[in-house]
Symmetry: C2
């Protein structure tokens, strides 16, 4: 658990030297986290998405899809509360830790480092980190993850890669959630995929419905295969 002074998360800082130094320090801690994950043979996945895109539901579906084959530990990042940690533990997470950012708009590597003190990585093959709901800020702070997963829901519209290009460009895998709503909300997957491909040539794109479970097995298989 960790908490950031709420003033520490207000942005638009133009003091480039301060910011560069903070990011450089973050990168060092992220590298240490990455080594910790490697030492435990754990594949760490950083999920970045808008509020309400279905991050927690996707984690629960992945835990269920891999039951008996891979254990999943979870770090939940939220501004406040611990409801998501309770949910993933109830769903069968191997272990879970809540980080409350206290108003902060993203997780940082040092928060993950602290959370690892309370997490039994020996009990898991995958570690899923649910970042704070925000398509912008989390993209600038590496956590040490081996995979960055960008989750977008059909209800947000197919133009999201155009509006928030950086996260779609920097992610290793793109997941479209709420596929069951696609027709109802006029989500045009062809346009969405074209917009993603203009930013990111290689990341696989999965389409799932956390409501029905459609597509989750394919995503789970792919993630597991990345553990190598």
């Amino acid at each position: 658990m960790t908490s950031t002074d709420s003033l520490g998360v207000m942005h638009g800082i133009r003091n480039v030297k301060v910011v560069k130094s903070l990011l450089a320090n973050n990168d060092l801690v992220a590298e240490a986290n990455r080594q910790t994950f490697a030492a435990h043979g754990v594949l760490a996945i950083n999920i970045i998405a808008s509020p309400g895109a279905g991050k927690t539901s996707a984690i629960i579906r992945l835990i269920q899809a891999l039951e008996g084959r891979a254990r999943i530990a979870v770090i939940e990042g939220d501004i406040a509360g611990s409801i998501d940690t309770e949910k993933v533990l109830a769903a069968g997470a191997a272990d879970a830790v809540q980080i409350n950012t206290g108003g902060g708009c993203h997780l940082e590597a040092s928060m993950i480092q602290q959370a690892l003190d309370d997490l039994d990585l020996g009990q898991a093959e995958l570690l899923i980190i649910e970042n704070v709901g925000n398509l912008i800020c989390p993209n600038y702070w590496k956590l040490g993850e081996q995979l960055r997963l960008c989750l977008a829901s059909t209800a947000e519209g197919h133009d999201k890669p155009l509006k928030y290009p950086d996260v779609f460009a920097a992610s290793d895998v793109i997941v479209i959630n709420k596929s069951d709503l696609a027709e109802l909300v006029d989500f045009d997957r062809k346009i969405f995929i074209e917009l993603v491909r203009a930013l990111n040539e290689h990341a696989p794109i999965f389409e799932i419905s956390c409501r029905s479970g459609a597509g989750v097995a394919e995503l789970a298989e792919w993630l597991l295969a990345q553990r190598g």
Copy 2:
């Protein structure tokens, strides 16, 4: 038009003195903006919402609902692109200016001040400012608006006030969009309203569907009445 160095928007700054000074400066510019709005008899509304909640669609619906009764100028805040400005002008906005934050996660008062150079406030009774899609960071930066409007879509789930409390606490009016999807996505308006009321006793809560137009007239009337 304004553009921020992309490093200027990376956050988590712990240098509280720097941040306090930046916010204090922002407040001064916001106050100057507020006086500009008052001098023109314009009611300025700052819309804060997640990506894909329906900010632009709501603005288009409000322009249509008030056609012939009140003219609406628009400032569109986006990381990149000008598609929303084109949309609101096509829908009949009195005038519109695009701000590209160049990666930045929120608008600042100085960006609005610059945008006002290109905007004919004499042509409008309302000014709607569409902030960058983000429920967290925009809440800390005043723009000089008289009304802060928090827009949440049913597809995001009824737990959003619990997860992102600050913006629901600080807003003058709360709007639930995509009411037509409420049943399909198991959105429980009773829970949502209870969560909002625990944070914010007085802000009126409207429910609209930008798809069908339901509820838009009531919201438009209320906004117009706030102009006084």
